[in-house]
């Protein structure tokens, strides 16, 4: 795909789900009535009768008609934390943020746009919220009562929101509850820090440890699949949501390798196996997406779906099934 960075960009109002919407003003999506959100789009120009050919800029086309603007959203190119913290995307699909809990015992929230550029000062000033370190769900009223919460304040240099928490026990769990502007919906982001955040870069060893091969041996595939499910469970438990996509996608690749083996199963089990693999593929993508947005409830739901699908796959291909023909 062509690099889009050479093209000019503009802020337009679009729907979080229907990217075809490109408006100059805020409002509702004409398709689903969601509130439009501000997005950054690259701009190109095309002639109405030859929309497949991009022009270098505005002007008249060969047939005398005026070239039209075309917006292409090209975003989310970088979901890597910048400060050694935990990185999430807001459910509005535009704001991004990174939380850190450093040895100075301060929780910080760095705010970004959809290009992972620091949020402009005028937008950062509008963000309000708090960080909750202790809350309790009350079944009777079906509400969550916050026991300990700290207001988040914009730092002096405007680079981040912060709150001094004091020393917390690890894993340090906390929830940032943010509104990106007055009157907006409040979003929650569930953080769990295994240790103090350190602003260090990934090392090649970190990446190399992710090296992963799908083995040929069925029992080995099933063993690795079970290990991935356990690993994802551990990451979910720890709150390392932005990391779950790696083992989730590995579990998906393992399951897809089993899809080619369904014909070795007894006839009655083939559909069951395919249904389980399909569910696992969907759940892995749900984990990827919910891990990005950092909402514990969504992540746990996706994990539940993946673990249940993996159990189904394991039962179908497991030792009992192997005697029926799978090798």
């Amino acid at each position: 795909m062509l690099a889009q960075s050479d093209k000019p960009t503009e802020s337009i109002w679009s729907c979080p789900v229907h990217a075809v919407v490109a408006e100059q003003n805020p409002g509702k999506c004409p398709i689903c009535r969601r509130d439009l959100v501000l997005v950054t789009a690259t701009v190109s120009w095309v002639c109405p009768n030859r929309p497949e050919v991009e022009r270098p800029g505005p002007g008249r086309c060969a047939d005398g008609s005026q070239a039209e603007k075309r917006y292409v959203q090209s975003t989310h190119a970088n979901h890597n934390p910048r400060h050694g913290g935990l990185f999430f995307m807001a459910p509005d699909l535009w704001h991004h943020l990174e939380g850190t809990y450093e040895s100075d015992e301060i929780f910080r929230v760095f705010l970004y746009d959809d290009y992972t550029k620091p949020l402009p000062a005028d937008l950062a000033k509008q963000v309000t919220g708090r960080v909750v370190t202790n809350e309790r769900f009350e079944a009777a009223t079906k509400t969550t009562k916050e026991i300990t919460a700290f207001p988040l304040k914009l730092s002096a240099d405007g680079d981040y929101l912060e709150a001094r928490l004091g020393r917390m026990k690890f894993p340090a769990e906390m929830t940032a509850k943010l509104k990106f502007k007055n009157g907006d919906q409040e979003y929650r982001f569930d953080f769990a820090f295994a240790e103090f955040s350190v602003d260090k870069a990934a090392t090649p060893a970190d990446v190399a440890s992710s090296l992963f091969e799908v083995p040929d041996d069925l029992n080995e595939v099933l063993k690795l699949l079970a290990e991935r499910v356990t690993l994802i469970g551990d990451l979910v438990q720890k709150g390392a949501f932005s990391e779950v996509w790696v083992p989730a996608f590995q579990a998906k690749d393992l399951a897809l390798s089993l899809d080619a083996r369904t014909r070795t199963l007894p006839l009655a089990k083939r559909d069951v196996a395919t249904a389980g693999i399909e569910r696992l593929v969907r759940a892995s993508w749900m984990l990827d997406a919910s891990g990005d947005t950092g909402n514990r409830s969504d992540v746990e739901q996706a994990y539940g779906a993946l673990a249940s699908a993996a159990r189904e796959v394991e039962t179908t291909f497991g030792p009992a099934a192997a005697s029926g023909g799978a090798r």
Binding site: M1, P16, V17, H18, A19, V20, P30, I31, P51, E52, H76, A77, N78, H79, N80, P81, R82, L93, A201, A202, T203, P204, D206, V207, A208, S210, L211, F212, E213, V214, W245, V246, F249, Q250, K252, D253, A255, L256, D259, A268, D271, V272, T274, A275, G276, I277, E278, R279, L280, V281, R282, W285, M286, D288, A289, D292, E312
Partner: protein, 371 residues
């Protein structure tokens, strides 16, 4: 230095390691298969053949779906929407669960096709180098070939500009002079952009319970109960159709008209007739030997998982069928193989997500052939 640039360097190091060590690259997990433009699958090379086959009967110009997915420019803006629909299991709109018991005519993406499309929509939607194919409109034709009998709706229906959805019942001008067995029934919309789903049913003049011959949804060929089996249309009984019209946002605030035609495929010669039995959520005991052929829900709310099993008199349990419900997409799920159960068998229903009384289930049965 940003973490990303370090990560990129790390990937280069890793690739170098792989080259040195001779690790085949196809075995290496894509380390960057995440948010940037990383999809190894492209629209024209990988995605188009899948959407053409599985989505093209609705997601094409003139179809019931609000957008075509049959060109790159048409599909790309819907990437996030496609991702949500696929991960939720809402599309394609066939909600049978072959994991409970094998079903006929499954209309699902294979796990691999599902992964290809999800990778493309999540990984930067690259167009690819494959040769673009011109967009073809929906082919509005009989999907089982020419029917034996056809009946046009008695009138043209117009949804006014301000109406986006309506359900209408029509009695068809179909005088039936003798008992007939209907193997399958289909609807040919006059305007495929607004005919969302339909029920074709017979109703006796004596107030008998309507017998649903077909629960029609667009995009699927009409199924039949199997050899020598059909739905009984008694002499003198009326044939009717209930059509659910629904405009997509493309036609909002515009009037739209339809005059559909119903087609019947008749069973040649004698055969067994299918009966639809209501199946209470509390279960039901059968008073004769039966073969179960299909299960369905009527006017169901969304997101109810239904599992039906037969518990034979000897206590053995036989899974019959499972499906999830989706409002507006009621359809019949045909068992891959008829399930024969003896008199005294109890059909057991398990549901998750339904409030009592909200769900109306039916099981389609025939008398087993004499052995």
């Amino acid at each position: 230095m940003s973490r990303l640039s370090i990560a990129r360097r790390a990937v280069l190091v890793l690739i170098a390691i792989c080259v040195v060590c001779g690790v085949p690259d196809r075995l290496v997990q894509r380390l960057d298969a995440h948010k940037p433009v990383t999809s190894k699958y492209t629209y024209w090379d990988d995605v188009y053949p899948i959407v053409k086959e599985h989505c093209g009967s609705c997601h094409a110009p003139g179809g019931i779906a609000p957008m075509s997915l049959l060109t790159y420019d048409a599909a790309r803006p819907w990437a996030e929407s496609i991702r949500l629909e696929l991960t939720a299991g809402h599309m394609p709109p066939w909600f049978g669960d072959p994991g409970v018991a094998p079903l006929k005519d499954a209309h699902k993406l294979s796990p691999r096709d599902l992964d290809v499309v999800l990778t493309w929509v999540s990984g930067g939607t690259p167009p690819g180098t494959g040769k673009p194919v011109p967009e073809t409109p929906v082919r509005n034709t009989w999907r089982r070939g020419r029917p034996d009998m056809t009946f046009a709706l008695p009138e043209t229906v117009t949804l006014p500009a301000g109406t986006s959805e309506d359900t209408r019942d029509f009695v068809l001008q179909a005088a039936n002079d003798r008992d007939r067995l209907i193997a399958a029934a289909d609807v040919l919309p006059g305007n495929a952009t607004i005919v969302h789903d339909a029920l074709i049913y017979t109703t006796g003049s004596d107030g008998a319970t309507p017998n649903v011959i077909a629960a029609w949804v667009p995009g699927l060929a009409p199924a039949s109960p199997g050899a020598n089996t059909g739905f009984l249309w008694r002499a003198g009984e009326q044939l009717a159709v209930r059509i659910h019209y629904k405009k997509t946002w493309k036609y909002e605030n515009k009037p739209a008209s339809d005059r559909a035609t119903v087609g019947l495929y008749l069973l040649k010669g004698a055969g067994r007739d299918v009966r639809s039995l209501p199946l209470p959520l509390s279960g039901a005991v059968v008073d004769q030997d039966l073969q179960a052929l299909a299960v369905r829900a009527a006017d169901a709310p969304s997101d109810v998982d239904v599992r039906i099993a037969a518990v034979r008199p000897d206590g053995s349990r036989l899974p019959i069928g499972g499906f999830s419900t989706r409002s507006g997409w009621d359809q019949r799920y045909w068992l891959a193989r008829p399930a024969t159960v003896p008199k005294g068998t109890r059909f057991d229903v398990t549901t998750t997500g339904a409030a009592p009384g909200e769900l109306h289930l039916w099981i389609d049965v025939v008398t087993p052939p004499r052995s």
